[in-house]
């Protein structure tokens, strides 16, 4: 038996903020450690600030999910201040949040995930040449269309939100936006351009309506073989390729899922409260663990810091959460190894367990029984989970399935806008209170917990999907979701472990986006061009 320790840093294109260490025994990953290499001090920045500071600070946490950060930060305040949110404002918030995700889906798929499908490890596949023709970075036919057109949905965000990225146009009580008929016409045209040229023509090879008829894994397989157009679309090809090279055979993870849900029915969430949140959601929340569904309750969330570089002795709910960093050198002596905390959820009957967040978790939540009329009810991915088990392939398909689904929702929300109506109700700024706001960023559940005292932020905690997924072991030595997903992966070439990349990227973690990277090397080469003579 041969056992090797591998230290893979960075994960291909990530500049060193997420290091993954794995142990490989006889060509299979037997253990894994995910190490977040960066301290994130956002909670500390926010303490003592004006309650609305979260609307400015949290959208800057990420260059990719800024709109999602704004969305949940706003609802955290809406619930804390007991605001009134006009129907139009809820619709605009839904549209903006969904457009950010519609951008992320193709951009992530082609620029980050599919580029690994041209890895030489797959050269033996009869589909390899076609994969290269489509997915090779910058020159692949599908890569070019997908990446170029990915920008269209956030142009719509900018029409309603003033700018993308980092807008702050959602405010407690509504939105700072008053779209005109011309804005709505333009937004509609942009989205149709995106749908016609990428979603239907390139990705699906059929109409959105045809794709949405798929209810089961058998339906999906039949869809692939239904006609040439679907068989040869990027989606049809991707399904065939995954099955051929075995991406449906590993990367499963913990098999337990969490969705906090997103998008609200305008009538049901006119007066946002924490208690009234679940029934008002369109994209449902829910927990699926050990094969059973349970209702999401934010009070069951706690963060464990046993293996994280923070002080703390027990898992804390975010309202009483602490962010007390310690020197990593000292922490390593105590068995700590990551700057990420480990969010855990107290599942009734199971105790605190790690849950996977992300599109697959959302799709599982959408399959739970008991959906109301306004709620997403979609059996497809629970069916795939039960028939195929979780894998890199199933996780990817869950993500891509949301493109046609969200597109339909966005068009519906746009049609409901009443341009003569109200977009904002001025709230009363209460001097104390607690709030919880959450959404589903493209890559999973993203939540803020705020405690306001004396008109200032007493505590603010952000729990990101990346934290749910890349968190380290907890006090029970249970692996985090990505750690667990890596275990069991077959590694064909230890010098080029592309399988690890597939697994880690299938979660689309976004650690690097917390920083703005510098390159000292480039800088030194430029030093001869100093214009103000300070050197």
């Amino acid at each position: 038996m041969t056992s090797v320790d591998m230290f893979v840093s960075p994960l291909g294109r990530v500049e060193g903020d997420l290091d993954v260490r794995v142990t490989i025994t006889d060509g299979v990953v037997t253990s894994a450690w995910t190490e977040a290499a960066m301290f994130r001090g956002f909670e500390i920045i926010l303490q003592g600030k004006d309650p609305q500071a979260g609307l400015i600070v949290t959208p800057r946490i990420c260059g990719i999910c800024g709109g999602s950060h704004l969305y949940k930060a706003c609802y955290a305040l809406d619930t804390a201040w007991a605001t009134h949110v006009p129907h139009n404002a809820t619709l605009i918030r839904n549209i903006a949040q969904a457009c950010e995700t519609l951008q992320s889906i193709p951009r992530y798929f082609y620029a980050l995930f599919a580029v690994d499908l041209v890895n030489k490890n797959y050269a033996k596949s009869p589909l390899y040449e076609e994969a290269v023709r489509r997915f090779a970075p910058y020159v692949g036919t599908a890569y070019q269309k997908g990446v170029v057109l990915s920008n269209k949905p956030v142009e719509v965000y900018a029409i309603f939100g003033g700018q993308w990225p980092h807008s702050s146009f959602m405010v407690p009580g509504g939105v700072m936006s008053a779209p005109s008929l011309a804005d709505v016409t333009r937004a509609t045209a942009i989205l149709h351009h995106w749908k016609d040229n990428w979603l239907e023509k390139e990705w699906l090879g059929c109409s959105i309506e045809r794709w949405m008829e798929i209810q089961s894994w058998e339906d999906m397989q039949a869809w692939v073989n239904e006609n040439e157009s679907q068989y040869n679309s990027d989606c049809g090809f991707f399904i065939r390729f995954c099955l051929d090279v075995g991406l449906d055979a590993y990367g499963g993870g913990v098999g337990n899922y969490l969705a906090t849900g997103t998008y609200f029915d305008p009538e049901l969430y006119e007066n946002p409260t924490v208690e009234g949140r679940n029934p008002a959601l369109i994209n449902r929340s829910g927990v699926y663990a050990d094969g059973k569904f349970s209702e999401f309750d934010h009070l069951r969330v706690a963060e464990d810091v046993t293996h994280s570089f923070y002080e703390g002795t027990r898992p804390l709910h975010p309202w009483e959460g602490e962010t007390k960093p310690i020197d990593p050198a000292v922490g390593r002596g105590q068995g700590k190894y990551s700057w990420a905390k480990s969010p855990r959820y107290d599942v009734p009957g199971l105790g605190h367990v790690p849950l996977e967040a992300g599109p697959l978790a959302r799709r599982i939540a959408a399959a739970a029984p008991g959906a109301a009329e306004h709620q997403d009810s979609d059996p497809l991915f629970l069916d795939m989970l039960q028939k195929k088990g979780p894998s890199v392939f199933v996780r990817q398909m869950a993500r891509m399935h949301e493109a046609p689904k969200y597109f339909q929702w966005v068009m519906d929300w746009i049609s409901q806008l009443d341009l003569q109506g109200s977009f904002y109700t001025k709230p009363q700024e209460l001097v104390s209170g607690k709030g919880f706001g959450s959404t589903e960023a493209a890559r999973g559940s993203l939540s803020d917990w705020i405690v306001i005292e004396d008109g200032k932020i007493a505590n603010y905690q952000v729990v990101t999907p990346t934290a749910w997924n890349i968190g380290p072991r907890d006090s029970q030595e249970v692996l985090g979701p990505i750690e667990q997903a890596l275990v069991g992966s077959p590694i064909v070439d230890q010098d080029d472990p592309v399988e690890l990349g597939h697994v880690a990227r299938s979660f689309d973690s976004c650690l690097v986006c917390t920083v703005h990277a510098y390159d000292g090397k480039t800088g030194r080469q430029l030093s001869k061009f100093v214009v103000n003579g300070m050197v």
Partner: protein, 285 residues
């Protein structure tokens, strides 16, 4: 390769891109001390006002999107922070020829995109539509403490860069900032200036005596309901006019006067100094 030349045409959704003479993009993360300098500079330009043909963009940390923003621009200015080990506040100006080759496309990542990646990506994305006149300013950081304000050195360097940008790049036909006092006691305001400063077409007036000459302060109001004066439209071009006779002295300063926007007071200041022409007249007479 045929496919290679078609990328920029994919972006054509039937609406032309908003044309602009100069696009200024500030990149960086406002949560990391001096890394905020790019977005803070954009904020400053926005508060002070820019000519109508200039577009300013807070690029933040989105990276790849800077390239999409470059569509339709004639000239591009990118401002970013750098960390090279030089003295804090050092300003680097990267010459155009250095920007002609910003490295290969390989190794780009949406979560760690830098200005040079954005330029490389923009050439790939926009092809023949990619602006060729590009200037990059890099400002050396002092510290990157989360939540910290800009350091003194970097703030001073930012002011320098703003000066350079205003002097060298904002030279197009900007907003006409002159107003005219007529002999009937009216003040005529060009359409663009009125639209930029008095979107609600209402202002309050105040005469402020300075040592050398008086200034007329025009305070933007949210609407005529709050008192003050209504800016009336006087022609199809959208030029506005208000009555100022009651506010000014009996000896009306008839003629053209320069204005400036005072950021601290939030008012448009009309400089009522005697005009150059008047002085010349007096000297020759």
């Amino acid at each position: 390769m045929a496919a290679d030349t078609q990328r920029h045409t994919l972006l054509d959704d039937g609406f032309p891109p908003t044309p602009c003479d100069v696009l200024v993009v500030g990149c960086g993360n406002i949560l990391r001390g001096d890394d905020a300098v790019g977005p803070v500079l954009i904020r400053r330009l926005w508060e002070d006002g820019v000519p109508a043909d200039v577009r300013i963009v807070d690029g933040g940390t989105a990276g790849m999107d800077v390239a999409f923003q470059m569509r339709g621009a004639q000239r591009v200015v990118v401002v970013d922070a750098s960390s090279t080990g030089a003295s804090p506040g050092t300003v680097y100006r990267v010459p155009g020829e250095e920007l002609a080759d910003t490295g290969p496309l390989d190794g780009l990542h949406t979560h760690s995109f830098r200005w040079d990646h954005a330029l490389t990506f923009a050439r790939w994305l926009l092809g023949p539509d990619c602006p060729t006149d590009i200037t990059v300013f890099l400002i050396e950081v002092a510290e990157l403490t989360p939540g910290a304000e800009l350091s003194t050195e970097v703030r001073a360097a930012m002011e320098q860069v703003i000066e350079i940008i205003r002097n060298e790049f904002f030279d197009g036909p900007g907003i006409d900032d002159h107003v005219e006092v007529t002999d009937s006691g009216h003040l005529r305001i060009p359409a663009a200036l009125a639209a930029a400063r008095f979107p609600a077409d209402a202002c309050g007036l105040g005469l402020v005596e300075r040592q050398s000459h008086p200034e007329l302060h025009m305070i933007p109001l949210q609407g005529p309901a709050n008192g003050g004066q209504l800016l009336k439209q006087r022609n199809l071009a959208g030029d506005r006019v208000i009555l100022v006779r009651e506010t000014l002295s009996d000896d009306l300063p008839v003629g053209n006067h320069r204005t400036r926007w005072d950021q601290t007071l939030g008012v448009l200041v009309v400089d009522l100094a005697p005009r150059e022409l008047d002085r010349d007249d007096r000297q020759s007479g």
